[in-house]
């Protein structure tokens, strides 16, 4: 297996009027070909910014300050706008949270799908239609020929998300970035969509970067997990290991907060405090102000991401 995507020492800044905020702080990670990586963390931890920075679509005051994003032998961080446009939707696709919003309400499914293909390939309409139908079948949309002529409002939420997935598959990408793909869906459909994505990734050997705050979703689909906190990765390792035996106190807290782990008829467990805003990240370990294991070194020195005894990479002074 070779490496598909390798991010090294990535820093993403947001320029404000007087200062700059670091939304992504020294993040390094890799995704192998066909590997499924989950990125979890609270709101504001920088998960989505990480996803958008890979395809160079960070919203305006944000920019990549330093670091490399190697994808198929190219450094995406230094690509031009036009180079990037040919990669987006072609080799790297992205799936968004809300399928109600990501499809254009005034265009038919068929024209939106065809458009994606024709943006990247010289292709006849008939040929494009053939591929569209094939991909719709792949995501189990019945009578797909007829469906091409329909508008988004004629589909249910789950079906729309499947269409969005079909669109992301059109150009046979090698990496899909899914930004909370199941958050807007109800639980039964969530499972359906996750099964579908799992199946597609396995059959086509696609890489998947699944961004979510839902640990259940991650443990179901991914092989490895990166836990993000305040713009840094605090824990990185195989899904099985981390869900069974989390190392970083933050991950311990996250998993402990799952409802099924709390004892019956008691209040749910929680991590005390809130994640600090980007401007107020404490010096040293960013988690130090909420951590139960905190010691003097945590407040002064930022821990590096190191492989610990458990085989998981953890950024914590206290974990051996």
């Amino acid at each position: 297996m070779s490496t598909l995507l390798s991010i090294s020492r990535l820093n993403v800044d947001f320029a404000l009027r007087k200062s700059t905020l670091r939304a992504i702080n020294d993040v390094s990670l890799t995704i192998e070909e066909g590997e499924r990586l989950g990125v979890v963390g609270e709101s504001g931890a920088g998960k989505s910014v990480l996803g958008f920075s890979i395809i160079q679509l960070i919203s305006k005051p944000g920019f990549i300050a330093s670091g490399e994003i190697q994808f198929q032998g190219k450094n995406l961080a230094s690509c031009t706008y036009e180079e990037m446009r040919s990669i987006r939707g072609n080799q790297i696709s992205m799936i968004f949270q809300d399928p109600m919003m990501t499809l254009n309400p005034v265009l038919t499914i068929g024209s939106q799908m065809r458009e994606t293909l024709q943006a990247h390939r010289q292709i006849s309409t008939a040929e494009a239609d053939r591929i569209c139908i094939e991909k719709l079948k792949k995501v189990y949309i019945p009578s797909s020929e007829k469906r091409l002529k329909q508008f988004p409002h004629e589909f249910s939420g789950g079906m729309r998300q499947r269409i969005v997935i079909a669109i992301s598959l059109l150009t046979d990408p090698s990496l899909i970035i899914a930004d909370e793909p199941t958050t807007a869906l109800d639980v039964t459909i969530q499972a359906e969509i996750l099964d579908l994505m799992l199946e597609l990734c396995e059959s086509d050997n696609m890489g998947l970067m699944l961004i979510t705050h839902d640990l259940a979703v991650v443990s179901q689909v991914t092989q490895r997990i990166a836990v993000m906190y305040a713009g840094t990765i605090v824990e990185l390792g195989s899904t099985a290991l981390i869900t069974r035996d989390p190392q970083h106190p933050y991950t311990v807290g996250l998993l402990g907060a799952l409802p099924q782990r709390a004892a019956r008829s008691k209040r749910l467990n929680q991590i005390p405090g809130v994640m600090p805003g980007l401007a107020k990240i404490p010096p040293g370990c960013p988690f130090s102000n909420r951590c139960s294991l905190v010691e003097a070194i945590c407040r002064s020195t930022r821990p590096a991401l190191e492989t610990k005894q458990s085989g998981i990479q953890v950024a914590c002074h206290m974990v051996k």
């Binding site: 395809i55 679509l57 446009r85 040919s86 990669i87 987006r88 939707g89 072609n90 696709s93 992205m94 968004f96 949270q97 809300d98 919003m101 990501t102 499809l103 254009n104 309400p105 005034v106 265009l107 458009e115 994606t116 943006a119 990247h120 969005v164 669109i167």
Partner: protein
């Protein structure tokens, strides 16, 4: 084909349309006016452009029901002996053509500028300031200025030939900021939506996103202001003609007919100015009523009350 027809028949649009008397009565009147205007050569008993059929001896005849009126001229004749009814139909055709032409031009310029300034931040300030400057001049001021200048430049005889396209150009250029602002406002709302982001993620070009994805989503406010703007353009044309800068007397629009009659109103020949006046009011009124109805229909906060 029949499926499309059935879909239309069963749509909300048609349902609400036929439940609102104001809407269908206005539409019926507008339909009659437009058909009679564009079918003027067929319906009009006389041809006001054909000098050979006009007899100066027939001038200023009152409507048929008055004592001196003749059945030949239903609504009387004007100062040149033209049949008022026929001349009004032809005049309304000119008014409507100028109104639609001017609005098409406004929409074309306004939509392009609105899209650019809404979607591409760099252009926003400069384009909108140009629009502000344009709006701070009165339409009539610009129109009178250009109209008078052209009349001087080309001479009155030549001016008559280019009057219609020139009016379209003047009114079109004077009012484009209405469209530009409306479109820009919608674009600003639409560009934040996820489908636009999704389109960018797919790797589509900016131009394609603007035209194919954002523009169709901004069309309902455009439709609403279009109806109002058609009425405005017809009124502007009438006002300019009234001031003598519009259509010439040889090819009168409703406005120039009103002017022509205005000179005679105190000598008792009221019909030359009153009838075109009524027709103009009726035309503007039904367009505006329909525009109001379309606006209410397209506004989800108001309808289904």
């Amino acid at each position: 084909m029949s499926l499309r027809w059935r879909q239309l028949k069963e749509s909300d649009f048609v349902y609400y349309f036929f439940r609102d008397p104001v809407a269908y009565v206005s539409f019926a009147i507008l339909l009659v006016l437009v058909i009679s205007a564009f079918g003027a050569p067929l319906f009009a008993p006389h041809d006001p452009y054909d000098q050979t059929t006009i007899d100066i001896m027939d001038s200023e005849l009152p409507p048929a029901w008055k004592d001196e009126g003749t059945a030949k001229f239903l609504l009387g004749t004007d100062d040149m002996g033209r049949d008022m009814f026929s001349t009004m139909l032809y005049g309304m055709r000119i008014s409507i053509i100028i109104g639609l032409g001017a609005v098409a031009l406004q929409a074309f310029i306004g939509i392009i500028i609105g899209l650019l300034s809404g979607y591409i931040k760099r252009f926003d300030t400069i384009l909108m300031r140009i629009a502000d400057v344009q709006l701070s001049f009165s339409t009539y001021m610009i129109a009178i200025f250009i109209g008078a200048t052209c009349q001087m430049m080309f001479g009155v005889a030549n001016y008559e030939k280019i009057a219609a396209p020139l009016l379209i150009l003047i009114i079109g250029l004077a009012e484009w900021p209405q469209y530009a602002r409306t479109v820009r406002a919608s674009v600003l709302a639409e560009r934040k939506k996820e489908y636009v982001e999704a389109a960018r993620v797919i790797g589509l070009s900016k131009i394609r996103i603007m035209w194919r994805h954002i523009l169709p989503n901004t069309l309902s406010p455009v439709l609403v202001i279009s109806t109002v703007q058609v009425a405005n353009a017809i009124m502007s044309e009438a006002a300019l003609s009234f001031l003598g800068l519009g259509m010439p007397q040889s090819k009168p629009s409703l406005g120039s007919l009103i002017t022509a009659g205005f000179e005679y109103i105190f000598s008792g020949t009221w019909w030359i100015t009153i009838f075109p006046g009524i027709l103009l009011v009726l035309l503007i009124l039904v367009i505006n009523l329909l525009g109001d109805w379309v606006r209410d229909y397209l506004n989800p906060k108001l309808y289904k009350g």
